[in-house]
Subunit: 147 residues, 2 copies
DNA sequence: CTCTCTGCAAAGTGTTTGCAGGGTC
DNA sequence: GACCCTGCAAACACTTTGCAGAGAG
């Protein structure tokens, strides 16, 4: 089974277990999140779904993302421009590389921060629950453009 | 000369070099940013200054932060709760450790990410300009509280 | 049949901007 | 004296919320 198909089933299952109802809108949102390799914003998701579902409301997207986030099944990428992006395919913390020109976001597969996390915990006395590591720069496409 | 005094002079000097005028409001803002070990929000800064300067406007704080940010003399910490914090004492990227209960932010002195940055650049083809590394958790104070 | 979910519109929150008067250089 | 800066209030962008009707289980 394809990876994003699996993720879709997992999220839907988790919703069911929590007594949530499976509405068509909810399925459409989960479907996009499950294969969210493009790190869509709420508006991206809304636009995408409106193609087949013209009455879909932005509020519904927001509400469902809050819900799925509370189940730990989607990762929110806080964005400097105030437009958050979401990753429901890899909902655990992992490094992102972000182009400040075209806003493209790609995942990096490098570097576990577990050691550093432990060191920081000792240094500060915190119990570390979570982290985020983002690199900002210019992607090769944007660099190639002579603007 | 104390560290934050030095930072104050550096920022003021940089403003002068850029042809900006040194107003009392601006000095007050720079003074707080220069010793911003507490990582104040815009509202924190505004509140602090209003004690001696009751007519100080929020808009002025925002405008000055944009200006100083454009000179590279203050670091903006994007916050999940949408209330940004600022560090004008160490304006270069460095790891932060954030308590999700009391919102306290402290600096970590560990870990250079230069190696990782180079690896990510090779992996993705990006030219990396910047990064951010934040750990979220519970500080020892909040852990001690039986709430 | 019950109880949650949706769509709509209004309200909220943090930030930015237009304008006219005031202050720095 | 020229031009930038400030304070005020309105405008903005994103997100959240109240309500009444629709739909899942």
């Amino acid at each position: 089974m394809a990876d994003h198909k699996k993720r879709f089933e997992i999220i839907i299952q988790k919703l069911r277990e929590n007594g949530q109802k499976i509405t068509p809108q909810r399925m459409a949102i989960v479907k996009i999140l499950a294969k969210s390799t493009g790190h869509p914003s709420v508006e991206d998701i809304h636009d995408e779904i409106k193609k087949d579902f013209p009455t879909m409301s932005l509020a519904t997207v927001y509400r469902n993302i809050v819900l799925i986030k509370s189940l730990g099944e989607v990762l929110e990428l806080g964005f400097p421009d105030g437009r958050n992006r979401y990753d429901g395919n890899k909902p655990y913390p992992h490094p992102h590389v972000i182009c400040i020109k075209c806003k493209k976001v790609i995942d990096s597969n490098l570097g576990s921060l577990d050691d550093l996390k432990d060191e920081v915990a000792v240094e500060t006395g915190f119990k570390i629950l979570n982290h985020r590591l983002d690199f900002f720069g210019i992607c090769s496409n944007c660099m190639a453009e002579k603007v």
